[in-house]
């Protein structure tokens, strides 16, 4: 793959040669093969998730955890490969990191708030 040095750098700017190669035919073909592979992985992941449904796991927590884990892996592939997230830079990552933090705090704190009760207000362990 040829390196294109025709672009100039400002001081302190990283030399991101990868971006130059993104327009060459060989790179695109390689990427197409990657897309098809990931598509296959997603199909397989779906089949795995559905199969899991028919295999009864006694622990509810474990079932949820595994289902969400498979979903997260599939999502990571879509985001990383199809959405080119693994090629993107700090800017996008920091935006998404903030978002994920806030989302977790929304879900987590709300769940906690609705399950933490003051003393002496529970009857038989359930809210009065």
């Amino acid at each position: 793959m040829s390196h294109d040095h025709s672009h100039s750098h400002g001081p302190g700017e990283a030399c991101d040669h990868g971006h130059d190669d993104h327009n060459s035919p060989e790179y695109i073909h390689k990427t197409i093969r990657k897309y098809l592979k990931v598509g296959g992985i997603l199909f397989a992941g779906t089949i795995l998730t559905v199969a899991m449904y028919y295999v009864h796991i006694p622990s509810v927590a474990a079932t949820i955890a595994i289902a969400l884990l498979i979903a997260t892996v599939k999502a990571a592939f879509v985001a990383g490969v199809f959405m080119h997230l693994s090629d993107e830079r700090k800017m996008i990552y920091s935006i998404l990191l903030c978002t994920v933090c806030f989302l977790i705090s929304l879900m987590g704190l709300t769940l906690w708030a609705m399950n933490d009760f003051p003393f002496f207000t529970l009857v038989d362990g359930k809210p009065f």
Partner: protein
């Protein structure tokens, strides 16, 4: 007066404007669906009766495959553009839109099945038991209770339910949508023809029975008003469906203006398609979480 970095990326951020813009928008969409998922978790955790098996897994799986395929085709259409192959782009883009419409079509079919499926609750225990027997024969109450236990996964609970707290599930004659007790009685109807669902583990539908509306406490189709389960199901899937529709419209616009943009500025066209594709992948991403949570868990 040109706005810079609409086509070429800005060196220090490595982004062109629209790509940054769409990622920001997607961040807000993460919070939107995240808010709905939070609502789902809270409603489910705080509920006594949360049903299972109310949605068809084969249909959902098929829809998942359709959406994943559309993600592959949309990114292939972008790659074709980068390779300069306009007709390949059009083909893949058309395939994506067909997948989208297929997804929506299947969804409409699922919704229709819900809107015509009914639960009936009766006014008191004796009446309820009478109708259970009418529906399923001698061991009618047992059969109805079995359906109830299986639906709400009550195998290990100590809670007991009276017969009038247990619903009879089935279809109405003529398969109307959205019928309610109020609507039926105000239309001066006194009885309905009700076809109960098959008992658990079988596929033989019992024959239709006649139900007097004066014996009915509550009648509801599987609609948002039925229970919080269906309320959140319809809200999340409908909002997702609207995003699928919106995305499909934007992609169709790219398809139909392709020739014009290819002549005007192929690079900017590729950027726009990439940005549209990013939205499309996000829609797929939401479904990747929606599918196990709604259909499987």
């Amino acid at each position: 007066m040109e706005i810079p970095y609409t086509v070429k990326p800005r060196p220090d951020t490595g982004l062109y404007n629209a790509k940054l813009g769409i990622w920001l928008f997607l961040a807000s969409e993460v919070m939107l669906f995240g808010g709905l998922f939070s609502a789902y978790i809270l409603l489910r955790v705080s509920s006594d009766l949360w049903p299972h098996g109310m949605v068809s897994i084969p249909v959902g799986t098929f829809n998942t495959f359709v959406l994943i395929a559309s993600s592959v085709t949309v990114v292939m259409s972008w790659a074709s553009l980068k390779l300069g192959k306009l007709s390949a782009f059009k083909g893949y883009m058309a395939a994506t839109i067909v997948c989208a419409l297929g997804f929506l079509g299947v969804k409409s079919f699922e919704y229709y099945a819900k809107f015509t499926h009914y639960d009936v609750w009766f006014k008191d225990e004796a009446t309820a038991k009478k109708y259970f027997t009418a529906a399923y024969g001698e061991k009618g109450e047992e059969a109805t209770r079995k359906l109830f236990v299986e639906r709400f996964h009550l195998h290990n609970t100590k809670a007991t339910y009276d017969a009038n707290q247990i619903q009879l599930t089935g279809h109405l004659f003529g398969n109307p949508m959205f019928a309610t007790l109020k609507k039926l009685t105000s239309a001066k109807q006194e009885t309905i023809q009700f076809t109960p669902d098959a008992p658990f583990g079988t596929h033989d539908h019992p024959k239709a029975i006649e139900v007097k509306l004066s014996d009915v406490q509550r009648l509801s189709a599987y609609v948002p008003a039925h229970s919080t389960y269906f309320a959140i199901y319809f809200t999340i899937t409908a909002l997702h469906g609207l995003h699928v529709l919106g995305g499909a419209i934007v992609l169709a616009y790219f398809l139909f203006t392709a020739d014009h943009w290819w002549k005007k500025s192929p690079e900017q066209m590729a950027n726009r398609v990439e940005v549209g594709g990013l939205f499309w992948h996000f829609v797929d991403l939401v479904w990747i979480f929606l599918f196990p949570i709604i259909y499987l868990l």
